[in-house]
């Protein structure tokens, strides 16, 4: 996952977790960790997002990451075919080590660079369909779809929690019930869940 520095996943992460950083064309900033509160179904949910970058050298680390997360974003660069070609390996790894319930979203990043596109949108869609992932093209530069990508992933996790797929009492899933939030009108037991999708990125 972490072989491709040009993928810009840490920029996606910063874009999502800190709105105050406006995307500017001559500046690339990324972070490896970020947290943000979102509201789904009137319930406050805290997302913690960890980037797994640079840890591919150690098998133990990647393994552990997969397991501790409720969701993952699989990011490739639409201007670089090689990043797309490595998705299969990454996904196999993720599926092998992760909880089978982990929500995985496929992200084709840098959708702003249409002229240098190497991977067609249809290819991404086909890959996602084949492997049962949710697919989306984003741009950390223009912030297009960034919000949607993370929130959709969180929504799917949330749905799984509602369905009882995730055992929320088991923190090994990467989900934790927080103290009750006195959110306006929200019923008791609102899960202030810290779903922690690592920016599992290629």
């Amino acid at each position: 996952m972490l072989l491709f520095s040009g993928v810009g996943k840490s920029c996606l992460l910063l874009q999502f977790t800190d709105k105050r950083f406006q995307p500017v064309h001559d500046l690339t900033i990324g972070v490896e960790f970020g947290a943000r509160m979102i509201t789904i179904d009137g319930k406050q949910i805290k997302l913690q997002i960890w980037d797994t970058a640079g840890q591919e050298a150690f098998r133990s680390i990647t393994r552990s990451y997969y397991r501790g997360a409720a969701g993952a974003l699989l990011v490739y660069d639409i201007t670089r075919r090689d990043t797309f070609n490595h998705l299969t390996t990454w996904l196999e790894d993720a599926r092998q080590h992760s909880n089978s319930n982990m929500v995985i979203m496929l992200i084709g990043n840098k959708s702003d660079l249409e002229s240098r596109r190497e991977v067609k949108k249809e290819e991404g869609e086909a890959f996602a369909r084949e492997h049962g992932l949710v697919f989306m093209e984003t741009s950390a530069k223009t912030a297009a779809n960034v919000e949607e990508a993370f929130i959709n992933t969180a929504k799917e996790i949330y749905e799984k929690i509602q369905e009882g797929v995730f055992d929320i009492n088991n923190e090994a899933n990467g989900i934790k019930i927080g103290p009750q939030h006195g959110g306006a009108g929200s019923g008791g037991g609102a899960p202030g869940a810290g779903g922690a999708p690592p920016g599992g990125c290629c």
């Binding site: 800190d18 150690f58 680390i61 810290g194 922690a196």
Partner: protein, 1062 residues
């Protein structure tokens, strides 16, 4: 004026360009004016800190003066000052600070900037700052800050973090305090950081790590793992009903994480660090907890525990002797007073044998570091009873005193001591061997006993004990030199029949003691028994005596005995599966010295070539040999394989598969021998008999047979994956509702029993073929007729064709002709160029065809066509090619089509069932096929058939010595296929063609045409015969079965006639 005022006002506000030096100056100004954090300025401070990160990164990428300003004003010191203030909502500011720092260190590309940032030690001050880690968010940002820094470590930057003079390395020591943090992401970050630190390989830094931190960190790590293991064990013990699978899965995964982490450290190959880690692992976890637990189930306490405790003692000493070179080299600093922990470890409750076997399998599957795995393997395989006779006695007293103490409480102690140890570490002057330090690590009041725990790493102690240790290791060594040892052996043999049940109430395992009993239990005839026994290598004479002797030896090896005893499956295969896993992992571990494995893998005869092979077991001679347990192992495995073939067997498929695999390894040196062949044959016959019970001429059996084969070849057993599955830790279950995969549980119901029988047959057959050295020729079930491919041009003159419209669900329709071959249903489109010819547009398997009439329209049929199973595809799952409504001209044609298809389907299936029948030796199915009688029965007199040849390639093809040819295949119903083929050498084809009728396949025959003919006919044929399939990719005729031969050889004359008509 007005304008200047406007500018002036803007100036005091903020510079317009957010990315500029001016802006940074402005922000600096804000920091200067707001040195104390308060409710009112909190917001502006946070925003300023955020902006600083943004500008600095912009500056790093665009304008170096920005960074110069930042350093010149020493702005990091402002950060520190803000951080150190305790005020309301400081976490808000702290989070922003940490984020800014994260961004800063993560995004800086300019190396010099990085050096400057690190140079004034502010970063270290930030690292040691006591953040409010109870705040989840602060903790997360803090640990990612540390992790981010660790990624910046290299041979240069390490000196900014590790101070050689003060012996100070806050980044590392602060981080490892959180190694056991409840939040998994934090733990992962700590592990990442430590690995990043070790990776730098700076000698001085590593020395610090080893001397000051390795012992406390690793000992705590090991404790932590041990605690998990006990939790895991409790979970297994208390959950016979599969209630907490999820929790168990997490605990298993956690253990795997630890092992992988340890392996990652070991793989960095830092000798000093590895030595410390190895010692801690072996002395404090693997031997006392894992290995020791192997015997705890079978031998009841307290009668035996004295011996066991001593055995651990002595074994550990032996180990030290093995590792001596390293132990004596280690400097005094390393020797923390860990003996206390040691004694605690030894007396704490052990885990169950099942868990121990499972965990040891994981260890051998993951860790390959020689000193660890080899030592473990040596202990399991070689340590013998003589170790019980040596050793200190005080441990037993200690055991009695502490036996009732709460283990969990004991376990929590070292965590605190790590904190303390690290606090001490940060004070450079502190001598770590001083008593105060020892006190921090001490447990309970029995301090005076410490020196008796041999696992202490104090070199003084080690060297003191060295002479005795080496003695011990000699007595317990492979050679069995001492006469005493011999006496024990003989005595054990003599006592044999009486002993076993007496001392192992839990596992009555008569077979391991007396193989003849095993055989009788297997309920087989004397003749077969003899065959089974003959597998034992190296004996021409008295088999039983030889085995008895081996058994006698195994009585001397408590751990190996447990493993071998566990292989007994008469009640169930719960333990056996883990014993198999362990053996497999042990044998396949690269770190284990292969010579050590010889006692398992080599027959006795191989091991001691010098020794006589005479049947009389002269003890004097025997003594000089190495013991071989190969025969015993094979006998045990064969017993499992035999049990697998019983109808009501309690052996799971996964056990069977693993047994077969191990048998292949264990018999690698006796492969091909007459006896092994005989045994294999007996086994195969049994497996066939088992599967035969379910052989029925219904649709399901055939589908099941092919699906099971497909399943089996698709995913061969992966032991590593198997050992990751916590579900197998629970007693074997039957119900599929447990969510456990079919292979890993017992069959439920008739269907699954059939599946199990079929699968067992495949596995045993594989073993049989391997042992007899034969290639697999009958599986996957071959499809006898040559296949039509999509795109093939077929001569359909006078063939039975039914015209139809194919209407797909989306409304699209096509007009096609339906033709039926022996094994296939073919949809053709008329060839526009030549009347009476057609191009195959779709070829499906007749066998898997699903036919259904249309209730409303008698002219219609609903068909589901699957991909044909050819060659390698035979092992793939069925894939649907077409699901559509077929509309015929009238209801008569529709009925005709239905009849033909149904009949064809039945026949295709009958053919396959015959193949299976032959495989399973079903009585009534002829041993050799006589297919031509019913198979090749042309419905119509064959018309004059035309074979067309063309030379489609340009001349260049000839220069490559590749020629293209077409060949005709005569199918049923007068369909002829023409297809181009490529061979690499014309000569070889010709020579094949000139062979007898057996080899006269159509392609060879066509070679006999003079080249001129080809050239000539090529011109005329080219427009007609179009083959879109690249010739080279065309598969060769895969099914060279006898059926095909007979089919082809039936009409060579006719074929010749075909050619002549051109």
């Amino acid at each position: 004026m007005f304008r200047s005022r406007s500018w002036f006002g803007g100036g005091w506000g903020r510079p317009k360009n957010p990315h500029s030096l001016e802006r940074l100056k402005y922000l600096h100004n804000i920091l200067c004016r707001n040195t104390t954090v308060s409710e009112s300025n909190r917001g502006i401070l946070v925003e300023s800190l955020r902006c600083i990160a943004e500008i600095l990164i912009w500056g790093d990428q665009n304008d170096s003066s920005v960074f110069d300003f930042f350093l010149e004003k020493n702005m990091l010191s402002y950060f520190l000052r803000i951080m150190r203030q305790k005020c309301g909502g400081s976490s808000y500011v702290c989070v922003q600070l940490l984020q800014t720092l994260n961004i800063l260190f993560e995004n800086i590309r300019n190396e010099t900037s990085l050096y400057y940032l690190l140079s004034n030690n502010h970063v270290n001050s930030i690292i040691v700052h006591k953040f409010d880690i109870s705040d989840e968010e602060v903790m997360a940002y803090y640990i990612s800050f540390l992790k981010t820094l660790s990624f910046k470590l290299n041979n240069h930057t390490i000196h900014f973090f590790y101070n050689e003079h003060t012996k100070d390395f806050p980044l590392y020591t602060e981080a490892i305090k959180f190694f056991n943090h409840p939040e998994s992401m934090v733990r992962i970050a700590v592990r990442t950081l430590t690995l990043n630190v070790y990776k730098v390989q700076d000698a001085s830094m590593l020395r610090f790590i080893r001397d000051r931190t390795a012992a406390p960190y690793f000992s705590n790590l090991v404790w932590f793992i041990g605690k998990h293991i006990l939790e895991l064990d409790a979970c297994v013990r208390n959950d016979a009903d599969h209630q907490s699978q999820q929790k168990l899965a997490d605990l298993v995964a956690e253990h795997l994480d630890h092992l992988h982490y340890i392996n990652d450290i070991l793989c960095l190959n830092i000798p000093d660090l590895n030595d410390v880690l190895t010692e801690h692992l072996l002395h404090k976890l693997l031997i006392p907890l894992y290995i020791y637990s192997l015997t705890s189930d079978t031998m009841k306490r307290p009668v035996y525990n004295r011996e066991h405790l001593q055995s651990i003692e002595v074994i550990t000493r032996n180990l030290e002797a093995i590792l001596t070179g390293k132990s004596t080299d280690t400097p005094p600093r390393i020797n923390y007073p860990i003996q206390r922990i040691e004694s605690e470890e030894e007396i704490k409750p052990s885990v169950s044998c099942v868990v121990a076997l499972f965990l040891l399998s994981q260890v051998f599957l993951i860790i390959t570091h020689g000193p660890i795995v080899h030592a473990l393997a040596w202990i399991i395989l070689q340590s013998n009873l003589s170790v019980f006779e040596e050793g200190a006695t005080k441990i037993l007293d200690m055991y009695d005193r502490n036996a009732k103490s709460n283990v969990k409480l004991e376990f929590s102690k070292p965590q605190l001591s790590l904190e303390k140890a690290l606090e001490n570490t940060s004070c450079p002057e502190r001598d770590y061997t001083t008593p105060e330090y020892a006190e921090a690590k001490s447990f309970g009041e029995d301090l005076d006993n410490t020196d008796h725990s041999s696992c202490d790493l104090d070199p003084e102690l080690v060297s003191n004990s060295l002479p005795s240790t080496s003695q011990i290791s000699e007595t317990s060594s492979i050679a069995h030199d001492s006469t005493e040892d011999l006496v024990t052996q003989i005595q054990t043999i003599k006592r044999n029949p009486a002993i076993p049940k007496a001392n192992m109430p839990d596992s009555p395992l008569p077979d391991s003691v007396e193989p003849s009993k095993t055989v009788t239990e297997m309920n087989i005839t004397d003749e077969e028994k003899q065959k089974l026994l003959n597998v034992m290598p190296g004996t021409s004479g008295d088999v039983t005596e030889d085995i008895q002797r081996t058994t006698g030896n195994i009585e001397n090896r408590p751990f190996l005995k447990t493993v071998v005893d566990s292989l007994d499956c008469t009640e169930n295969d719960y333990k056996a599966l883990f014993a198999l896993c362990l053996l497999y992992a042990l044998i396949n571990n690269k770190g284990v010295n292969p010579e050590l494995l010889d006692i398992l893998l080599r027959p006795e005869a191989d091991l001691s070539k010098a020794s006589t092979s005479s049947g009389s077991p002269d003890e004097g001679e025997r003594k000089e040999k190495k013991d071989s347990f190969n025969g015993l192992l094979i006998a045990e495995l064969m017993a499992i394989a035999n049990l697998c073939c019983k109808p009501a067997s309690k052996v799971r498929l996964v056990t069977c598969e693993l047994t077969v695999r191990l048998l292949r390894t264990a018999m690698q040196f006796s492969e091909g021998s007459v006896t092994s062949r005989q045994t294999a044959n007996v086994l195969r016959a049994r497996a066939a008999a088992l599967a035969r019970n379910f052989y029925k001429c219904d649709d399901i059996f055939l589908d099941m047979f092919e699906d099971e084969y497909c399943e089996m070849s698709k995913k061969p057993l992966n032991v590593e994956c198997l050992c990751m599955d916590a579900a197998i830790l629970l007693p074997p279950t039957r119900t599929p509702m447990s969510g456990i995969a079919f292979e890993k549980r017992l069959p439920s119901g008739e269907m699954e029993r059939a599946r199990r029988a079929i699968r067992t047959f495949f596995l045993i057959r594989e073993l049989y073929l391997k042992l007899t050295g034969r290639p697999e020729s009958q599986l996957p079930l071959a499809n006898p007729a040559p296949f039509v491919q999509v795109g093939d041009v077929l001569d359909l003159n006078d063939s039975d064709l039914i015209s139809c419209d194919i209407i797909q669900r989306d409304g699209t329709w096509q007009h096609r002709f339906l033709a039926v071959d022996n094994m296939q249903v073919i949809l053709v489109e008329p060839d526009k160029q030549r009347l009476g010819w057609g191009v195959a547009k779709l070829v499906g398997s007749l066998q898997d065809l699903e036919i259904q009439g249309d209730k409303e329209d008698p002219r219609c049929l609903h068909l589901i066509i699957h991909k044909p199973r050819v060659g390698a595809n035979g092992a793939l799952p069925r894939t649907i090619l077409l699901r559509a409504k077929f509309k015929f001209d009238d209801h008569i044609r529709s009925m005709a089509a239905k009849q033909r298809l149904t009949k064809g389907r039945t026949k295709a299936r009958q053919k396959k069932m015959q193949q299976i029948g032959r495989l399973l030796e079903v009585s009534g199915v002829a041993a050799l096929p006589t297919p031509s009688s019913h198979r090749h029965r042309p419905l119509f007199a064959r018309p004059a058939l035309a074979a067309v040849r063309r030379h489609s390639g340009i001349d260049g093809d000839d220069t490559e010595r590749r020629i293209r040819r077409t060949s005709g295949h005569v199918l049923k119903d007068g369909i002829v296929v023409y297809r181009e083929r490529t061979t690499t050498s014309r000569e070889s084809s010709v020579s094949r063609g000139s062979n007898g009728s057996r080899d006269s396949s159509p392609r060879a025959r066509s070679e006999e045409i003079p080249l001129e003919d080809i050239r000539r006919s090529a011109g005329s044929a080219t427009p007609v015969v179009r083959n879109p399939i690249p010739t080279t990719s065309h598969p060769k005729v895969t099914n060279a079965s006898s059926e095909e031969t007979s089919f082809i050889s039936n009409d060579p004359r006719k074929r010749k006639g075909i050619v002549e008509t051109i």
